[in-house]
Amino acid sequence: MFGKQYVRELHKQGINSLPIVCIISVFIGAVICIQMRINTESPFLPSQLTGYATRETMILEFSSAILCLILAGKVGSNIASEIGTMRITEQIDALDIMGVNSANYLILPKILAFVTMIPCLVTFSITTGLLGGFGVALFTEMITPMEYEQGIQYSFLPYSIQYSIEKSLVFAFIVTSIASYYGYTVKGGAREVGKASTNAVVNSSVIILLFDVMLTKLLLS
């Protein structure tokens, strides 16, 4: 039963998030590339800087923290409203009265599934983001694909990927556990479920930002 629930959540939170992650990452990757190019266009700066800066921005911040903020909106609100609806329609009481540990049964697979999927989502986001930047190099005259490629390979630290994934694991845990908490403790009706879902998103976003600062300080300096 648990395994089935877990696989379902892997699919719902992981696979179903790929399209939005892809779209957002490609566009942000492209935009960052363009802006970097415009801001660093100077005879004193090497043209490889654009690719380098795009890569660093994507890996260090966008694909972990910002991505998780976006997914807090998608996954967090989904979890809070699903569990909240189960609460107000007595489905959680039904689990309890059967002797099923409802918190375990409902919440644990969700947290585990999202924590399992987030490294894939982060890696996917970094890749598609860099491809977005490459698109700019390919289809505009701003930089050549060659310069972009050299840029994204310049002075690459594998540790930054690890840092990004470690951060995202923490964020994934924050999003799912806070959303589950708000959903599980709903009292009342549809209005309260809506409120719980909003609260889940707002609060997990704020906590993600706090942890982002702390983790960056801890892991990078």
């Binding site: 039963m1 489905q91 009481d93 039904a94 309890d96 009265i97 059967m98 002797g99 099923v100």
Partner: protein
């Protein structure tokens, strides 16, 4: 038999149940009746152990549930089936999977045996044709029946039904009442039914507990109910002209 002794229950300082005592009999349909908001659902959920009571005792054949450890409580809960006011079917599962859910959780039967048991229960409530539909795709009465099938799938010793026929037409609600009564007699279940449907009271009221504003104010059966001298109860049951006429006819011995 479930013995309820001096139960009090409040939410955030607002008391809902006041010193309720009643015996709920084995092999009988025990009805809890009362006006909307009188505390029927709270009483049922307290007896079933979903709400923790403030004081008092609830004994399941002598076993006190407020003193049970959580693993004992979980074992007891496998003997309990419950039909909720809003059916509470899991909306991500089909009717069949809903009914099979308790089996999958708690029995070590093979998949075929479980399926057979689920079919048997669904047959019992005449719902075999809705096997692969989702709860949102079937009518309210069908949801109620699916929920009954789920509640009885593990052969419970105690069956709780919160308003099994609210929102149903008189014919369907009669069918459901009779179904519950039949199952109760057939398997010697201690059945507790919340209702404010007077047809049910007259039809299946073998042991009726009347709750008024959180107090128990009368207990008896469906023949005694005509002469209770209890004003609140008369106002509730004989509220409509039709029932007033029935009462008069009954008193005249027709």
């Amino acid at each position: 038999m479930i013995e309820v002794k001096n139960v009090n229950k409040s939410f955030d300082g607002k008391q809902v149940l006041f010193d309720i005592s009643a015996n709920l009999l084995e092999g009988h349909a025990n009805l809890i009746i009362g006006q909307s908001g009188s505390g029927k659902t709270v009483l049922m959920k307290s007896v079933a152990g979903i709400h923790r009571i403030d004081s008092g005792e609830i004994l399941y054949d002598g076993r006190n549930i407020s003193q049970m450890k959580s693993n004992e409580l979980n074992l007891l809960r496998r003997e309990i089936g419950m039909l909720f006011q809003g059916s509470a079917l899991f909306d991500s599962l089909t009717v069949k999977d809903n009914v099979m859910f308790p089996l999958r959780m708690f029995s070590n039967k093979s998949e075929e045996e479980m399926e057979e048991r689920a079919r048997f229960c669904l047959e019992r409530v005449d719902l075999l044709r809705a096997l692969d539909l989702y709860p949102s795709e079937i009518s309210g009465g069908m949801q109620k029946r699916a929920a009954i099938a789920r509640a009885i799938v593990l052969n419970p010793k105690y069956l709780f039904c919160d308003e099994p026929n609210s929102g149903l037409d008189p014919k369907t609600s009669l069918l459901i009442d009779r179904l519950i009564l039949e199952i109760t007699h057939e398997y010697n279940i201690t059945t507790i039914i919340n209702t404010h449907d007077m047809n049910s009271v007259m039809e299946i009221g073998e042991n009726i507990v009347f709750i008024s504003k959180g107090h128990k104010s009368w207990q008896g059966n469906n023949t005694e109910i005509y002469d209770t001298g209890n004003e609140d109860l008369e106002n509730l049951i004989f509220a409509s002209d039709l029932y007033k006429k029935i009462k008069k006819a009954h008193q005249m011995g027709i």
